[in-house]
């Protein structure tokens, strides 16, 4: 993992810039997704954001096949990386073990765009120029920029530059983070943050390790220290709700017990698990690990939301 360190001309690996978002901070916002993550949540809906470096993706719908093209079946593409099945089927398939290391130069040789890279390096100015296109909308709705990922804090120089630049342009700033990073990264970025959306995935450290790859001691310590060190930030806790993993009262109450003593944690949101990310797994050739889990029922979500509402003094029904 190679977080950016060049502060004089900060740049970073950007996965995507998504305009007109309304769920990740106040008002209408532009979400900037950065690549690289320090967790491996088995339910991850953004698998293309996990690796730090840009990586190959393949969209078979854009591929015209061997007879019409076949460029990837020959050098300089890696031997065995792309192939067709014997018989009449002309479709090109990818052997991800052999083709996965293809870089942007190779992907650019694909004339139909079926091969492309997830992620590209951009400077902070380039990103801000894109984000600034909706400045008038931000002004009228109180919106701004939200950095997401992956884990945006893994590129602290870049994130800090983006958020500082956004503040200078009068935008509201938010980040979405799981906080599994050294505290110094948070210390560098949080001075430029208005709202911090942060994931309370699992409160039990063993279970956190089982489902995300590491324990949660540092994550919880970072949360607590952030609440205490940056009293002016609006913190919004979040839980991706997955039946059989964390969609239970015990977890919700444990999170509430953790956040309620801190008055700057202004809300706790539930994000019912969905499987929208599966198409991306397909494009990346990554096997989805959480294949037998279902979306939580509406009744369960309402029940857990009612517990949160009660804790926040919002009695009288679901939100």
């Amino acid at each position: 993992m190679t977080p950016t360190t060049n502060a004089s001309a900060p740049s970073g690996i950007v996965l995507n810039i998504q305009r007109y978002c309304s769920h990740d901070g106040p008002g209408i916002r532009t979400n900037v997704f950065l690549k690289g993550c320090s967790l491996r949540c088995k339910w991850c809906g953004n698998p293309e954001s996990i690796a730090f470096k840009p990586e190959l993706s393949y969209d078979p719908r854009k591929c015209t096949g061997k007879k019409a093209c076949g460029v990837c079946l020959k050098a300089p593409f890696p031997e065995g990386g792309f192939y067709v099945v014997e018989g009449a089927d002309d479709t090109i398939h990818v052997n991800w073990d052999l083709a996965g290391d293809c870089d942007e130069a190779l992907a650019s040789l694909c004339p139909t765009g079926a091969l492309e890279m997830f992620g590209k390096r951009m400077t902070a100015d380039e990103v801000l120029a894109e984000v600034e296109k909706d400045a008038s909308i931000y002004r009228s709705t109180g919106g701004g920029i939200t950095l997401s990922g992956g884990e945006c804090l893994l590129q602290p120089d870049f994130s800090a530059a983006l958020l500082k630049g956004a503040h200078e342009r009068g935008m509201n700033t938010a980040i979405e983070t799981a906080c599994n990073v050294p505290w110094k990264f948070l210390e560098q970025v949080l001075p430029h943050v208005d709202t911090m959306l942060h994931d309370h995935k699992l409160t039990n450290t063993e279970r956190h390790k089982k489902w995300t790859g590491v324990g949660n001691e540092r994550v919880l310590a970072n949360f607590k220290k952030a609440y205490e060190t940056f009293p002016d930030i609006d913190f919004v806790a979040r839980t991706p709700l997955i039946p059989g993993i964390n969609a239970d009262e015990e977890h919700i109450r444990a999170v509430l017990a953790f956040i309620r003593p801190h008055k700057n944690v202004i809300d706790y949101e539930l994000l019912p698990y969905h499987r929208f990310g599966l198409g991306k797994y397909l494009s990346l050739g990554v096997v989805y690990e959480l294949d037998d889990y279902k979306t939580p029922s509406d009744d369960l979500v309402k029940h857990l939301q009612a517990i949160i509402d009660e804790a926040f003094g919002r009695t009288g029904g679901t939100r």
Partner: protein, 393 residues
């Protein structure tokens, strides 16, 4: 080569096994060890896939088990756990938690090759399945003297007639199907049993023949469920008020293919990674084990009067002890791999082409699947026995 004193050298090779249990692993190791011993070579086993090489500190023996004549003399060929296994064997993407407590994947292939050099190991025999063959090919391109032994419960590895492990799975599948048939007979219902076979229907077809199933549905022949229902109506009578349908987990259905509106019954995520990919990235579903049986049982029930019930054998058939056939095959594959090393045939896979053991380049087997050909003898036998194979042949 390992120096053994007085200017003499002894050849030193290694053997490792890929992820997943399969009956007969110890027999492959035994075959390789006996053959290497006969040549005067030393052979060591790498523990837990490549972990024994990548993480020697985790093991009291440094991650390498010397397959000494004493150990080999007492090695049980019916077991499979001598060297252990790892869930992943890809040294190019090793997942680990770094010093900053962050999860990352790192390329440890250089470390692997360095450790082999340091240990004076000049060739590695790898007992691997489909994806493992690609990884070993990549390692071979990087300089590893690799010889692979094909392992497949589903017998879907190209360029070899029979992978070891298949016969054991077949035997157990037949035993279980016999029991299911008794249950179906007793309950007067139609049993729909899903067996392994995501892309190739060998297990379903050969087991279905052995138990004289009413129908066998395999990935190679998209099934016409209307015709299947009609055939079952003929077969299930008051004198024989039960039925048995064997369905491979990767079975396809004509109505899905024709309408393109129903989500595919095959695991299209897995299919997209395989030579039989449909190429449909927009409409895919992660298939759970048992979906093929449930699809057939549910749809059939709408078309016929009799009650159907789905059952899934799935991974149960991966366990157990190797059959006599698999023990012989495994020993042969192990010995054959040593012969490939002796011949300097690296970047190859040992294949069983009756009556011979041969070596083929890995490029002849990666990106290919050994499917059931339409003119297969087994298809003809099934047809002669009156077994419906998804459509009228």
């Amino acid at each position: 080569m390992k120096e053994i004193g007085h200017g003499n050298f002894q050849r030193r090779i290694a053997i490792m096994v890929g992820a997943g249990y399969i009956p007969g692993l110890n027999a492959v190791i035994l075959g390789a060890a006996l053959a290497a011993g006969k040549l005067g070579w030393e052979i060591v086993g790498i523990r837990d896939g490549f972990d024994g090489l990548l993480y020697p500190d985790r093991y009291s023996d440094g991650g390498l088990l010397t397959l000494s004549p004493e150990l080999v003399a007492n090695l049980d060929p019916t077991a499979s756990g001598l060297l252990g296994q790892a869930p992943r064997i890809d040294p190019f993407h090793v997942r680990r938690v770094n010093d900053d407590d962050m999860v990352e994947e790192v390329d440890m292939s250089d470390e692997l090759l360095k450790r082999l050099k340091k240990e004076d190991i000049d060739a590695v025999i790898s007992v691997v399945g489909g994806r493992g063959l690609s990884i070993l090919f990549k390692l071979h391109r990087k300089g590893l003297n690799a010889v692979c032994v094909p392992r497949s419960i589903e017998n879907d590895i190209a360029a070899t007639a029979v992978s070891f492990g298949f016969n054991s799975a077949l035997s157990f599948t037949i035993e279980m199907l016999d029991r299911v048939r008794q249950a179906a007979q007793s309950a007067r219902k139609i049993a729909v049993v899903e067996v392994l076979g995501d892309q190739a229907g060998w297990l379903a077809l050969q087991a279905g023949i052995a138990v004289c199933a009413d129908a066998v549905l395999i990935p190679e022949i998209p099934c016409d469920l209307q015709t299947l229902a009609a055939r079952l109506k003929d077969k299930v009578t008051p004198r024989r008020p039960y039925g048995l349908v064997v369905v491979a987990e990767g079975a396809k259905f004509l109505e899905d293919i024709q309408t393109q509106t129903v989500k595919p019954s095959v695991n299209s995520l897995k299919a997209s990674l395989s030579p039989l990919a449909t190429g449909d990235a927009s409409d895919h579903v992660i298939r759970k084990s048992g979906q093929a049986a449930e699809t057939v049982a549910t749809r059939l029930q709408l078309l016929i009067a009799e009650e159907t019930f789905p059952l899934v054998l799935g991974p149960w058939v991966r366990g157990g002890t190797p059959t006599a056939v698999d023990r012989q095959l495994a020993l042969g594959y192990g010995a054959g791999a040593v012969r490939a090393v002796e011949a300097g045939s690296y970047g190859s896979m040992v294949t069983f082409v009756p009556p011979d053991m041969k070596f083929v380049p890995l490029t002849d087997t990666i990106n290919k699947i050994r499917t059931v050909p339409s003119d297969s003898m087994f298809m003809q036998i099934a047809s002669s026995l009156g077994i419906f194979l998804g459509r009228e042949l």
